[in-house]
Symmetry: C2
Subunit: 392 residues, 2 copies
């Protein structure tokens, strides 16, 4: 049973990441896991807020028949209504339950959405640096990723996006607060992107979707505002999960919401409902849908993240690293010193018992990603390791 | 944002089913839902066994850090070990945890498995009648479904399968106990299929996968044994869910298991792990993985299903319907009387307040599917409706 060619390519492209993870595992086995500063994973060490655990216990004890049965593929009507009301209050856009599809995390939402939009040979614009899975999500449907670089502050370059658009462009994916840079795109960036996409959609005679992947929306610092793309471009699609703000990444719950005023909003919602079935998701997990419906204003306490971010930024500054001070997510993305060989620098870090991910994994060589959703003890070790690396 | 061509086709092919569902909804609104015998859905009315609810409450209250975090894409090691031990004890095949991938239901498992196996233009043999989603699962990857009819008892025709195999054939999907016929394929059928596939694999120089979709394995009657395909053919892949035997269909938990002795078992497992990421599933829901690990020998009480099956078979016999007496699942698949127009017959049933699914939806016109995972009251109504229909 030989495996598919596309999957073979995917496995090969990921093989160096696997080697890096294996080096990390070997290191932990050799010196002890508690001696290694593992900043390589976006897996929050925070536990879910108490409201989540309390509500989960209520659902587990709920004797109402049908609690665990099938439901409409788009999700429980009451959950979709709650999400729509929440979004409407936040954005001023009159979302309704039939503009929302509950999904198996943001990842599952993006894949079903892309299936709904893409034919083979179509193009999706990605703004580097970006979450590496996006290229696999697009490749599932034999469509092509077109990579456009952000500027030297990791902010979108609307003119570069305009130049990358072709008659095959069907969507642009943005991710703010960004993984791996942590940068929050300001409203003016969405205004500029919206103007470019309006013009291109008009020229093409069919709208280009602006897909906004926002799992880190609630993880922000210094009182920064995260703009809503739908307020700047009509054909915006909002995709998110509860993995980060409720610290439930293993439970796989998120949603996709279409602007009711966008063209084809009804058809796209129907296409996603079909895609939930055709891709075997069927529906987002029932327990999680019941859980999040009443918790849309609850989030983890980001004060702990803010402190870890501050300590790591101080350590990077002290070591003379060049780093953009990001306002969101739980990532820092410093430039690597010297010749800019990020993979070689990651090996140096491993020698100093610090695990980070090379920027090459995010289509942005010359940098490394530090993920600080970790314990204070891990931050202690990382600060020490950065000092050793800087002075070497 | 116009939708993809493939999804447009999928929506069109499903439109008559939607019309039928809408007719059912209208009927319920008109005469009251409690006056309609809805046998159209495979959504078990049974609640999960008490052990499930008890364990779910323990997990919800479990304060262990990391209970809801990300995990390896293949699933929790302890859950995979439990599944492997369970399968090894049942089959005599030495499954290990690295032969198992926990999935988002059997549907999610089938789709990730097909992604791992298929290139565009490849072929997958389906034995009609079959669960209609299979064709969409295959079409996701631009591969083609090749439909082979079973015999007049709904049992596989190994010779017909042999004749349908081409150099592009990558897999055969079997589903026993079967949806929609309820038939359990006996061991001799798997022996015959195995011989055909051995010969074809040898001739092609690469193995053809026998994908066995078994969500109804534990829902059987009259002490029938459900054979294990892996005991009859080396390149068998076991796919199942806990939707029916633990009555948890909304929670989306299942698994795929590769025979450790099959060629490419290690590569295929790796390909599926990649596919879990690339298709956005990431991992099966964490709570459900913890739940099923200790409940692999627990199942719903099928005595209630057996009684409903008996009453409906009596009603069909009394009405002169021609029906195979099936030994599994919770479906009956009688021939429609008269000219065999199943869609017209379904309309007649709607008039008598009985909702069933036409065989055309399972690539088998001339029959209708009755799903009896319903309340006793619904069976009462269905028995009365069948009597009225038979005497009309």
């Amino acid at each position: 049973m030989p495996i598919s060619k596309l999957v073979t390519e995917g496995l090969e492209s990921a093989s160096w990441i696997r080697r890096m993870f294996e080096a990390g595992i070997q290191l932990k086995q050799k010196v002890g896991a508690d001696q290694v500063a593992d900043l390589s994973l976006g897996n929050p060490v925070l536990e879910p807020p108490p409201e989540v655990i309390e509500r989960l216990q209520q659902i587990a004890a709920d004797p109402t028949p049908g609690t665990h049965r099938y439901m409409p593929n788009a999700g429980l009507p009451e959950t979709r209504q709650a999400v729509a009301s929440h979004l409407a209050a936040a954005t001023g856009v009159p979302y309704g339950p039939d503009n929302v599809v509950m999904t198996v995390g943001a990842g599952g939402g993006l894949v079903v959405l892309l299936k709904s939009l893409l034919d083979p040979g179509d193009e999706v614009v990605l703004l580097a640096p970006f979450f590496a899975e996006y290229t696999h999500y697009v490749a599932n449907f034999r469509a092509n990723s077109v990579i456009v670089r952000t500027d030297d502050r990791f902010r979108p370059d609307a003119q570069a996006v305009a130049e990358a658009i072709t008659p095959r462009t069907r969507a642009v994916i943005v991710n703010s607060p960004n993984n791996p840079s942590g940068v929050v795109y300001p409203a003016e960036d969405f205004a500029a992107l919206g103007a470019v996409l309006d013009e291109a959609s008009e020229r093409q005679g069919r709208p280009i979707a602006l897909i906004s992947d926002e799992p880190y929306r609630e993880i922000v610092y210094d009182g920064v505002e995260v703009p809503w793309p739908v307020n700047h471009y009509r054909h915006s699609v909002h995709v998110t999960s509860f993995s980060k703000d409720l610290a439930l990444p293993g439970e796989r719950i998120g949603y996709v919401a279409f602007n009711p005023a966008s063209e084809d909003a009804v058809d796209l919602w129907r296409a996603m409902v079909f895609g939930m079935r055709a891709l075997g998701f069927v529906n987002a997990p029932a327990i999680q849908q019941r859980l999040v419906a009443g918790l849309l204003d609850v989030r983890v306490d980001v004060a702990g993240y803010a402190e870890k971010r501050g300590r790591l930024l101080d350590a990077l500054d002290a070591g003379g690293f060049d780093v953009v001070r990001p306002e969101g997510a739980f990532y820092l993305f410093p430039r690597v010193p010297g010749d800019g060989d990020d993979v070689a620098f990651v090996r140096t870090c491993v020698e100093e018992r610090l695990l980070v991910v090379p920027g090459s994994g995010f289509a942005w060589p010359g940098h490394v990603r530090l993920a600080y959703a970790v314990t204070d003890r891990t931050v202690d070790l990382a600060v020490e390791a950065l000092a050793r690396i800087a002075s070497a």
